[in-house]
């Protein structure tokens, strides 16, 4: 434990391999003295937190709850029969309730762990961790289409411009690492709202999410924009920086103590430190084979997402406050989106199951699960009946499942239920706003107090909604 702490401490304050520079910058910061001038300085939460950071594993498109974790025997009993369902999309368009064909899951369920949580064949690896997980099976949200629902999950609004959850968290808590952005999203989608999903909106720009790579490109090549210079050698870059430092020193000399100039000068220093530390953190080569294997790296199906998950652990270890791992693409009909051919869910489960399980195991063995909150889920779920009597399922914002781990939530626990078909959340209902409120609560932030003045009034992540789900707090 002490070894880990040391390593983490080392990563946070010194970064990798540029001790001198960082140290001098640190001295400078200490000299200039206060966190007032540094909006990213780590801040005290409002009350004792249960988690210090978040890893959000975004399963874009809407994984089906009734094919994964929300087992419904009724679907087997009534498979093929027509029943009246208030389909969200049909309802919005026609205001009518129509008949739909009950569609049983093609995958078998089994109970796992001491808690007896049912998990389908889709997730054999995750299934082994159910005693560490906390399921929210009564989730519901706003937005029937991907665009609105994805924005809603990230920002609490289906169309209005609002800061992303990660930006709020960074605004509330600051960063634990001076060399890295405090909010990183790995390979985000450019569709369905794109950058707005990790944008600071009206919060100051320092709280914006930093993208590493983008959906549709290989995790092997994932990097922060403009972090590398392919033209200049490291020594040339240093020469350039030193010349800049000299000129800036001359120009700033006319204005001693000018905070704005200082901030610009510091931005170059941070950029330089990032340039040196981020590639090391994202470089997985120094991870031992057995660790890489845990994440499924080296196997075709799991290599890409495994890399993302392992990067997430390394960023988490380095003290990045909010890390989002994206299983996504850039299309309007994203990956977990089987309107037809539900069987394809298996491909996506295959690609993510072992990497996610590997991440959970790795976080646990390193003690990181103690103060890291892991959130797995999509923007909504899927219908328990076939879409247009076909072979897939449509979107379902009325009821779906997410799971959590670590960071002060109950272990081996399940909260909330959907109706006998798995369509509507009926008990222990948790709206996305409620979940946002709870996430902030776990980090020691009160969602009603965490506000920002904009347009002449204070804004919140949860608007005027949200109740903390106290039932799941450990």
């Amino acid at each position: 434990m002490s070894l880990i702490t040391t390593r983490r401490e080392a990563l946070r304050s010194v970064g990798c391999g540029f001790g001198l520079l960082a140290a001098s910058a640190l001295a400078q910061r200490n000299a200039s003295g206060s966190s007032k001038s540094n909006p990213l300085a780590a801040k005290q939460p409002l009350f004792p937190p249960r988690a210090k950071r978040v890893i959000f594993i975004f399963m874009q498109g809407g994984p089906s709850q009734v094919d994964t974790f929300d087992y419904k025997p009724m679907l087997e009993q009534l498979d093929g029969e027509n029943q009246a369902f208030d389909d969200a999309r049909v309802l919005a368009k026609t205001k009518e309730i129509k008949q739909h064909r009950v569609f049983q899951s093609p995958w078998k369920f089994k109970q796992y762990g001491d808690c007896g949580q049912p998990v389908s064949e889709l997730f054999p690896h995750i299934a082994k961790h159910v005693d560490d997980l906390c399921f929210l099976k009564g989730m519901h949200t706003d937005g029937v289409a991907h665009g609105p629902a994805t924005l809603f999950m990230h920002t609490g609004s289906i169309n209005l411009v609002r800061p992303s959850v990660g930006s709020w968290v960074l605004y509330g808590l600051g960063s634990e690492n001076e060399n890295l952005p405090g909010f990183i999203t790995l390979q985000p989608s450019m569709g369905n709202g794109g950058p707005r999903n990790f944008n600071n909106a009206f919060l100051p720009a320092v709280y914006q999410g930093t993208a590493v790579g983008r959906a549709g490109t290989s995790a092997k090549d994932a990097r922060i924009r403009n972090l590398r210079n392919d033209t200049l050698s490291p020594s040339e870059q240093l020469r350039q920086l030193e010349a800049l430092r000299s000129l800036n020193a001359v120009q700033a000399a006319n204005r001693p103590g000018d905070r704005e100039f200082e901030a610009v000068i510091n931005s170059y220093e941070l950029a330089w430190r990032m340039q040196n530390s981020v590639p090391d953190i994202l470089n997985l080569a120094d991870e031992p084979d057995h660790v890489q294997k845990m994440y499924g790296i080296g196997q075709k199906a799991t290599d890409d997402f495994g890399r993302q998950c392992l990067m997430a652990r390394r960023l988490c270890e380095a003290g990045v406050r909010y890390i989002q791992v994206n299983y996504s693409d850039n299309g309007n009909n994203p990956r977990w989106d089987q309107h037809s051919n539900l069987e394809k869910h298996a491909d996506h489960a295959m690609a993510t199951d072992q990497p996610v399980a590997g991440l959970l195991a790795d976080l646990k063995q390193r003690g990181l699960l103690e103060d890291t909150l892991v959130w797995w889920g999509g923007e909504f779920g899927r219908t328990p009946y076939a879409q247009s009597n076909g072979t897939g399922r449509d979107h379902n914002p009325y009821g779906f499942t997410i799971f959590l781990a670590g960071g002060g939530v109950k272990r081996g626990f399940s909260h909330g239920t959907t109706d006998e078909f798995g369509h509507h959340a009926i008990e222990g209902k948790v709206h996305m706003h409620d979940w946002h409120a709870t996430l902030l609560h776990l980090l020691g932030l009160d969602h009603e107090e965490l506000t920002f003045m904009h347009d002449g009034r204070p804004f919140r992540l949860t608007d005027v909604y949200g109740d903390v789900v106290t039932e799941i707090l450990a």
């Binding site: 208030d86 952005p181 924009r225 210079n229 020469r239």
Partner: protein, 1003 residues
């Protein structure tokens, strides 16, 4: 009890419906004082004396045993002393008696009381408690409690002082509101007497007087070389060339500065720089944003209109009228008309979710976005707040909001379909073109008419343009063997609908019963039999899966009557057209075959033709005929004739098509723009309670914001939307906000901070003016000079206030560290556009074309757009989700929201862009190559030149040393300027210059 819409008193937990656009995160306790009072008047009267004492006891027992504990456990947290979601509290009897937004929650004795409905989860959008349904037994107890009289002994809450009304912050009344400075009329203030002083312009006197009050001394005048760069960027957004620097520094004229100002003001680049300011204010973008963002391919016309309006110095009042009601402004000048129309795109450029399925909500969302933008952009008012409730801080009641919303609801902004679209209008043409256009379009219309009838005729004679086996959907009766009778020749009983949607059918069409009037519709065919004998009977129909599965066909024959059921979903077995019914004996004379919809089910009943085919000896042994359709060559003379006709029509069609194609090519292009028009039937609208479109309150007559209105406003004629009157009102010199808000914006753009620093918010939650008299001076002068923006700018940049140094004089910093009083010129940061344009300008790559579309042709969606244009930044496409990287990184105005001021962040991503972005690498190399190509003899000359280009000043000694050592090799101190090494060294110098503080700031 009145219940509005589907969302009643509960609003906060809606599981699926639309949520309020923006609620307030605090002060929620200010709950609908007005509404509560309103409902109190009609509060329930437990009138019936029939509730016996016994019943009351039973009711009390139920209350204490079941109701009270449930309320405490599940309800009071949100409907109690602390929070009253939906305006409802359940911790005291009075709370449910009066109820919330939708009236009483419980009416004693009424089993349909609202509270019971919601706990029963009767209505999807209204389920309480939100986290899960109560046990059935508890619900039953509530029902019995209500029916038995709803006894509730709770007179007051534990915390009775905390009644919702007691500590409510009341919104200001109109009278109170008018007292607020921003709603006071603008009056030209007297000039402060500052004696023989520092002031050169009137406005300086206002500044100087305030400085004197605080014992402050204005900073000295900045040097020419500093002013030059300041002025270039402030007025045209580009650096001066080295020649321009030299010329200005060496201009001996006393009026050198003034001349420069006038020169810059008359440049088209001025329009580009200042047009962009306005584009910030009006959240200009070229896509709709949101999840599935739609491109606005014509938005560039509005952008160009704005740029040109600034360049032409269109009076600001006119500029506003055009944008709000350009389509309604009278003019005979076609160009003016085009500009007016284009200007209204202002109303349509917002971030809108056109995919929204509930179109009523979509329309109100658009109206709300328009009002919100107009409010903030033109009046500095957050009127959007009043969509859901009376404005909490400013004197804008919800009734005002809906009075104005009625105007915009009476305006056509959107065309609906699954994914709706903004309204488009044709631009007028030049008179010369218009005549030609008229002529050509008339001709075109005529040709298209001819084509249509030719095609129709062609189809009627069985022609097919694609040459399929049975050559079209329709088959002429004469192509069939046997006795044929089509539906047109049969007798019809009841309503039958003609259709041609599915082929193949006989003749021009088939008919169907529309699945209505079952049992009452028949089609009776009476074909004439020439020779008695056995005939095989067929019916034709077009199969499809919406057809009846058991259509009845009756045949009256010699031996009686036969009734057969036909499944019209199955494809007919002969030629896909005819289905055999059977063989029957017929006498000579008329036979009778009836298709009826009696007892039919599963879909529509089709009737087309019937066919009677004499049974020959050969066929009797053979059984079935395989085809009844004759090839065209076999056909009768009549058919031959129609073949000739078909051929003639075919070539006629071809010829017409060629003509039309040619004509369309020559037709003058008529551009369309995003623009509004008045709706067909303008009307007043209702207040939507809590902003919920389907929860209607009072009807409000269309009108203006009362607090900023005056008595002599013209009424809105019922047949008009009121937009014209709205535009007149907002652009009136009498309007207390319009001139102030714009004068303040211009001040902000030049001085770096507004006199009211919250430039979009002049309400009570905004900042107060630091110099109220100065603001009124500027505003009244602005109006006096015909709303000329250029005159206002000129006045400011010629002032001494503008021309001070930006140095941090310690004595002044001690008194006024934030420079609230303008004792110095605020240092400003270069904007994203300034940085990009400067890079291209210095490298020689800048394309300075004025106006025109700049989205790459063929672009369908913004995602993945590559921004490669070298034109000025104002022409770069502005997509709501996809901006050029440099815009994103350097605090470009977020087009998703109205924002008249920009952030000034200093973040690592900016530094990374400056150090490593390919554009920086490429442009610095180009600049280096260009520099090395010039006839400069020494490194020092070259460094000096680069300095002049980038920071518009010569280097200091120390800077020169640093720069020289950067560009010379460490070994011999010299460079071969033709080498790649030299280019890369100088490229590095340019990068360092673009990165340094003196480039990134205007001192």
């Amino acid at each position: 009890m009145i219940v509005h819409g589907s969302c009643r008193f509960r609003f906060d937990h809606s599981s699926s419906g639309r949520r309020g656009s923006d609620g307030f995160a605090f002060a929620r306790r200010i709950v609908w004082v007005m509404l509560l009072i309103g409902f109190a008047i009609c509060s329930p009267v437990i009138s019936s004396l029939a509730f016996a004492e016994e019943s009351r006891e039973r009711s009390l027992e139920l209350f204490e045993k079941h109701v009270r504990p449930t309320l405490v456990e599940h309800c009071v947290r949100c409907h109690g002393p602390k929070k009253q979601k939906g305006g409802l509290r359940l911790d005291i009897r009075e709370g449910w008696e009066e109820g919330g937004d939708s009236g009483p929650a419980v009416v004693a004795g009424d089993p349909e009381s609202l509270l019971l409905q919601v706990i029963r989860y009767d209505d999807l959008s209204l389920e309480m408690p939100p986290k899960g349904k109560l046990p059935d037994a508890t619900i039953a107890a509530f029902e019995q409690w209500v029916v038995s009289g709803a006894a509730d002994p709770r007179e007051s809450s534990m915390d009775s002082s905390d009644l919702p009304t007691s500590d409510a912050v009341k919104p200001p009344t109109l009278e109170e509101g008018r007292e607020f400075w921003a709603f006071q009329p603008v009056v030209q203030p007297a000039l402060p007497d500052t004696g023989e002083s520092w002031a050169v312009k009137d406005l300086d006197r206002f500044v100087f007087a305030r400085l004197q009050e605080h014992g402050l001394t204005p900073n000295p005048d900045a040097e020419r070389i500093v002013l030059l760069r300041r002025l270039y960027f402030d007025l045209i957004g580009l650096p001066p060339t080295t020649e321009q620097v030299d010329a200005f520094l060496n201009d001996p004229s006393e009026n050198a500065y003034e001349d420069l100002v006038d020169r810059l003001l008359s440049s088209q680049h001025f329009g580009e720089r200042w047009g962009r300011h306005w584009l910030d204010v009006v959240r200009f973008a070229e896509s709709s944003g949101g999840g599935r963002t739609l491109l606005f391919p014509n938005a560039w016309r509005y952008r160009d209109y704005v740029i040109d309006s600034f360049f032409q110095d269109v009076p600001y009042d006119q500029f506003l009228r055009q944008q709000i009601a350009g389509d309604l402004l009278p003019t005979d000048d076609w160009e003016q008309k085009a500009r007016n129309l284009t200007a209204t795109a202002f109303l349509l450029l917002g971030p809108i979710n056109y995919e929204m399925q509930d179109k009523d909500i979509l329309e109100m969302d658009i109206v709300d976005e328009q009002l919100d933008t107009i409010g903030k952009a033109m009046m500095g008012m957050t009127i959007g707040c009043a969509r859901c409730h009376d404005h909490k801080f400013d004197p804008i009641p919800a009734a005002d909001y809906y009075a104005m919303a009625g105007i915009f609801k009476s305006t056509q902004s959107v065309i609906h379909s699954n994914v709706s679209k903004w309204n488009m209008m044709d631009l007028p043409l030049a008179p010369s073109e218009a005549e030609n256009f008229e002529e050509q379009s008339t001709k075109l219309a005529r040709l298209e008419g001819e084509l249509k009838s030719a095609k129709q005729a062609f189809a009627e004679v069985g022609g097919s343009l694609d040459g399929s086996s049975i050559q079209s959907k329709s088959l002429p009766a004469d192509r069939l063997d046997g006795i044929v009778m089509d539906d047109v020749d049969a007798e019809r009983i009841g309503d039958w609908v003609q259709s041609t949607s599915i082929g193949v059918f006989v003749g021009r069409h088939y008919i169907h019963d529309a699945e209505q009037g079952r049992g009452a519709k028949r089609v009776i065919y009476r074909p004439v039999i020439d020779a008695a004998g056995r005939y095989r009977v067929f019916v034709s129909y077009t199969a499809s899966n919406n057809r009846a599965t058991n259509t009845q066909v009756q045949v009256r024959h010699v031996d009686g009557q036969e009734s057969v059921r036909v499944n019209q979903r199955n494809r007919p077995s002969i030629d896909g057209l005819l289905e055999p019914i059977g063989e029957f004996q017929f006498e000579q004379g008329p036979a009778e075959i009836v298709i009826s919809n009696d007892g039919a089910s599963g879909g529509v009943v089709i009737a087309d033709a019937i066919v009677l085919l004499p049974v020959t000896d050969a066929e009797e042994t053979d059984g079935q005929a395989s085809s009844l359709v004759r090839s065209e060559s076999d056909a009768s003379d009549e058919a031959q004739a129609s073949k000739v006709l078909r051929d003639r029509l075919r070539s006629e069609i071809k010829e017409l098509e060629t003509k039309i194609k040619g004509l369309k090519k020559r037709l003058p292009k008529r551009a369309a723009v995003m623009a509004t028009k008045d709706a067909a039937s303008p009307k007043d609208i209702h207040i939507a309670i809590r902003g919920q479109t389907h929860q209607l309150g009072d009807l409000v007559p269309r009108g203006m914001m009362q607090v900023a209105s005056w008595d002599s406003l013209p009424p809105i004629p019922t047949a008009e939307s009121g937009r014209r009157q709205f535009a007149e009102w907002i652009s009136s010199p009498q309007h207390p906000l319009t001139s102030r808000v714009m004068a303040n914006r211009v001040w902000y753009w030049l001085m770096g901070r507004g006199i009211v620093s919250s430039v979009d918010n002049f309400g009570s939650m905004g900042q107060s003016p630091t110099h109220p008299l100065l603001l009124d001076h500027l505003a009244s002068k602005f109006v006096e000079r015909g709303w000329s923006i250029k005159a206002l700018i000129r006045e400011i940049v010629l002032s001494r206030t503008y021309r001070m140094t930006s140095a941090a004089t310690p004595e002044s910093v001690a008194v006024d560290p934030e420079n609230q009083l303008f004792w110095r010129s605020d240092r400003k940061r270069l904007r994203a556009e300034d940085i990009r344009d400067s890079l291209l300008f210095v490298s020689g790559d800048l394309d300075t074309r004025y106006g025109g579309s700049n989205i790459r042709p063929g672009t369908k969606i913004e995602y993945g757009y590559r921004f490669t244009s070298k034109r000025r930044s104002v022409y770069m496409p502005v997509f709501r989700n996809t901006l050029p990287e440099i815009f994103e990184v350097f605090d470009f105005a977020d087009p998703n929201t109205q924002a008249g001021s920009r952030g000034a962040s200093a973040v690592a991503s900016q530094a990374l862009w400056m150090m490593n972005h390919p554009m920086m690498m490429e442009q610095s190399e180009k600049a280096a190559t260009r520099l090395l190509g010039q006839s400069l003899v020494s490194d020092e000359d070259r460094v000096r030149h680069a300095y002049m280009q980038v920071v518009s000043r010569p280097p200091t000694e120390r800077e020169l040393d640093v720069a020289i050592s950067l560009v010379t090799s460490s070994s011999d101190g010299s460079t071969d300027i033709s080498s790649d090494v030299a280019v890369s060294r100088y490229a590095m110098l340019y990068r360092v210059l673009f990165q340094c503080l003196d480039f990134r700031y205007l001192n």
